[in-house]
């Protein structure tokens, strides 16, 4: 058994999600962290650890100066782009278990719509830290966007298992359906139909249409982690880090991932989920609700299979049978996911997993003991205390 289960999420907080925040990224970071601390009933003076993504533009010390944190004893960053989003919580929990810090804030804050465009074509040498290490071997051939790189992997899965873009519409429709009553979501009160999906323009033909993609977003999402013992005395019911793991086997890359043998098996997530189950003595049958990193629709299929929620090649049928609906056996992305809510690089979906365990989600599922968050290379099982 692992030791991470002695750590809890004590607070969550976010800014609004928008296409134009109208303020700086450091302001978004400070606001979402303050909101998470308020949620926990803690103050910046309680914080002694900080963690974010390598590609977050905000410096830890700048956040310290904005919040008035007394002293950091721990600061770290996690690689793999959005694939590392679950890992940010895992590593924060690890620091607490190791005694390196008592209260760690985790954040991701960005203006990736209004200041720069995450989905636009990359044409030059990328900044390091994003986890896409093979871009120099794709860009000269016009393979220059995250949508393209993901499609180059998904195409083989769809070919092998007979999944078409029209099938993917059902995933997009489901995410948007879950977002319909979520006021924080881009998809609030905006359900879509198969026709809407099929009439949206090709992004990567014949894999992704516009409505298969998450939307570039401005916003910030933060978490406060502390020991379960301390969290018990705070404002919110603590949510246990039941298990947390990272798995990046050779020769995997976060997204320009073209050199593993078989594209139809998401070996990262399979290995990550196996560790989660081993740490916690749980299995797929013990998870009541799952938040699966859905930057693009087809990846949802591979998450479902890699976590063992269904067999390989059967995920489309699993969704079609209604398992991932709110009243299904495994509701998925109950807030709308990254496609339906917003794209805060995965962390907004991790926050939904926390709300489901607390019992405070907009689309609350009854009897949630364990909620899964999968960001592919990293992931967390959250548990009720």
């Amino acid at each position: 058994m692992g030791k991470l289960d002695q750590v809890a999420v004590a607070g969550i907080g976010a800014t609004e999600f928008s296409k134009n925040s109208g303020r700086s990224e450091i302001q978004l970071a400070a606001e979402c962290v303050k909101a998470a601390l308020d949620d926990a009933g803690l103050t910046p003076q309680d914080v002694d650890g900080m963690l974010t993504f390598t590609i977050d533009n905000n410096e830890d010390v700048a956040l310290v100066r904005n919040l008035g944190v007394k002293a950091l004893r721990y600061a770290s960053r996690i690689p793999h782009g959005g694939g590392g989003s679950g890992g940010s919580l895992v590593h924060a929990a690890g620091a607490i278990v190791a005694g390196l810090a008592d209260v760690v804030v985790v954040w991701r804050a960005m203006n990736e719509r209004s200041e720069y465009r995450f989905g636009q074509a990359n044409t030059g040498r990328p900044a390091p830290g994003g986890g896409a290490t093979n871009m120099e071997w794709t860009i000269p051939w016009g393979a220059a966007t995250p949508a393209c790189w993901q499609s180059m992997v998904s195409q083989r899965y769809m070919h092998e298992f007979g999944v078409t873009n029209r099938d993917l519409a059902e995933i997009s429709i489901l995410m948007r359906k879950h977002a319909v009553n979520n006021p924080e979501a881009f998809g609030y009160q905006k359900p879509i139909s198969i026709d809407d999906h099929q009439n949206s323009k090709w992004i990567i033909e014949p894999i992704l249409r516009l409505l298969d993609c998450c939307q570039e977003s401005d916003g910030g999402q933060a978490f406060v982690l502390t020991s379960l013992e301390r969290a018990r005395d705070l404002k919110q019911p603590p949510v246990r880090i039941t298990a947390g793991a990272q798995y990046v086997p050779y020769p995997v890359d976060a997204i320009t991932n073209f050199y593993q043998d078989d594209f139809t098996d998401m070996v990262t997530t399979r290995g990550m989920a196996q560790q989660l189950y081993e740490q916690s003595g749980t299995g797929p049958q013990d998870i009541q609700v799952a938040m699966l990193y859905d930057h693009f629709t087809p990846i949802v299929l591979q998450h479902l299979e890699a976590w063992g929620f269904c067999k390989r090649g059967e995920a489309m049928e699993f969704i079609r049978d209604g398992h991932c609906e709110l009243d299904g056996s495994l509701p998925v992305n109950t807030h709308g996911g990254l496609i339906g809510e917003a794209y805060i690089h995965g962390l907004n979906s991790a926050a939904e997993a926390v709300r489901q365990v607390r019992g405070t989600a907009i689309n609350q599922i009854a009897g949630v003991e364990h909620a899964a968050f999968s960001s592919g290379l990293t992931g967390v099982i959250f548990g009720r205390v």
Binding site: W137, W141, G142, A143, T145, C148, M152, E205
Partner: protein, 137 residues
């Protein structure tokens, strides 16, 4: 079909990729091979992941392979790729992978594992880029 509409931008060349682009200028498709254990690797990197040797040599490849995945990027338009271009992951017959473009064939006529062969097209600054088309015969 399949080609960029103007000469593609020169690649960004690093210490570890220079051999590939210099060979491409000569219209040779090459890969890096460990000079100690002999195992080929792609993409290039300075250390052999099998024996950790940094001694390396260049192997000229046959230029033959098969198509593992294939897609058409439509939006956003990539600068220099205003027309249709098919991006593919190629399984080279030497057992390594390469991302490239499939040319001289319509998307709907491509089948999984279809055999292809390399050819070269000029880029800016005198560079050349390896592209693939259906294998002759």
């Amino acid at each position: 079909m399949g080609e960029a509409t103007a000469l593609r931008a020169a690649p960004w060349v690093t210490r570890d990729s220079e051999f590939f682009w210099e060979a491409a200028r000569r219209e040779e498709l090459v890969a890096e091979r460990c000079a100690d254990c002999g195992i080929l690797r792609s993409p290039p990197r300075p250390m052999c992941p099998h024996c950790n040797s940094v001694a390396r040599e260049t192997q000229v490849l046959s230029g033959r392979g098969s198509i593992y995945t294939w897609v058409i990027p439509r939006y956003p338009v990539v600068p220099g790729f205003e027309g249709t271009h098919i991006v593919a992951v190629i399984d080279l017959e030497e057992g390594i992978r390469l991302v490239s473009n499939i040319c001289e064939i319509a998307y709907e006529d491509i089948t999984a594992d279809m055999p292809v062969e390399v050819f070269f097209e000029p880029m800016q600054d005198g560079y050349k880029i390896p592209l693939f088309r259906p294998a002759a015969g």
